[in-house]
Subunit: 238 residues, 2 copies
Amino acid sequence: MSNLETVFESIIHFALKDPRQTKLGRSIVKNGIYMIAELGFEEMNFKKLGKAIGSPEASIYRYFENKHKFLLYIMAMYWGMIDQHCEKIIHSNNGHEEKIYSTLDLLCTSPDIPFGNVKIPGEVIYAVVIGESVKTFMTKHVDADNHHGAFRTLKSTTSHLAELLSEYSPDYPFPKALASTIIEMSLYQRYFSEHLPSMTDIGKHQSIVDDLKLWIIGLLRATRITPGEDSQILRISL
Amino acid sequence: MSNLETVFESIIHFALKDPRQTKLGRSIVKNGIYMIAELGFEEMNFKKLGKAIGSPEASIYRYFENKHKFLLYIMAMYWGMIDQHCEKIIHSNNGHEEKIYSTLDLLCTSPDIPFGNVKIPGEVIYAVVIGESVKTFMTKHVDADNHHGAFRTLKSTTSHLAELLSEYSPDYPFPKALASTIIEMSLYQRYFSEHLPSMTDIGKHQSIVDDLKLWIIGLLRATRITPGEDSQILRISL
DNA sequence: CTGTTTTTGATAGCAATACTATCAAATAAT
DNA sequence: ATTATTTGATAGTATTGCTATCAAAAACAG
């Protein structure tokens, strides 16, 4: 059983029936992602999606209980893919610094996602992740969704990055916080550079991706606490 | 004219008529904030709010065009207050390091907000900010809202912090990105510590606020680029 | 304190959204 | 060829987000 299958198995229960197995299912997922990328999650709905793929709304409800579960499915799939790449990097023979840099590369440029016999382009799914990822967990039912495993792949990716950061700086007390910050902020800074440019400098020195990586690598310095500075920081802050 | 008035004047156009001037208006804003804190933005609506304050839905629509503008109003008010405190800190006679620390304090613990003759407790508005702030700008109409000044106070706060960071480390190339990261992530890490605890270490060593401040102060190290390390980073990343 | 303007309450209604139900036609599995 | 499963077509319901109307209440002005 390939790793790819493992990813899809772990997300299958967010759907009512496996969309990868049928033409309609694949069409729903692929076109749904395109539609969210184009209209945004709020303005997308199953009626419009049905019209776009030439099927009635009701047929889509046979695959996904509701819009929110559809988003959970897509995001869990995305982070599952990223997490799988992450594991490949971790189990490689490179040094841990190089592993970190490869992971940052992965977080700044999305791979394509193979979905049954169709392919979802990295740029399209990445656009959806940038704009909608936060909407999966900033809800009143986050705890219930979490309990059902909705964020397992996102949390796993965070843990993997946190472990790499711990190897890099074993004494740093906030590896998970820095990992989640890097993951979330690599999305946010891109969003800011497009929509609220005064909130970032990313993309103003060189290309967005290059600036982003340089900025994140700078953040790694936060993990390097020298004894003298540390005591000064502690004195002032606490 | 006090600074407080300036804040409210700058947000008044997100309402149809000034809610501070009437009993009903104040009741809408105060109870609306409480209701969002309790139910979340998605589950709150003007019908429920009307019931809670004993007024018909239609009366609320006389103050706010819709739910989203109501949220914009609240958030612009919050960041306006924070920004005003920020300016006070900047114009104080302290050194720039102390100014930064005061600002971080401000970002980790919300002040109460005086609203006409009622007061909105810091913890209540802060709970709303943590869970809903991102929903003001992660929308398809972000550019239109931005154009109408919806994020002026948030952007101003970011700029103020970025300026302090620039004073602290004049050569650091990403002061705005770090400022927006500190602002957004001080909210996120709190959210994570409550709902997705495996994504953070904040609150696991000491109190949430102490951990948060210590963690943010560690991030400031990202601004300190020594020539040797810098060249190594540049070589690897680009 | 009287007449006028503004604000509120009460109710009704409408278009869109998020689903659910039903049943026949098409497709796939045995 | 028969049976089971999937899809299409259509209809319908409850809720949401918002608008319209008009009389009662409150605020205000002379």
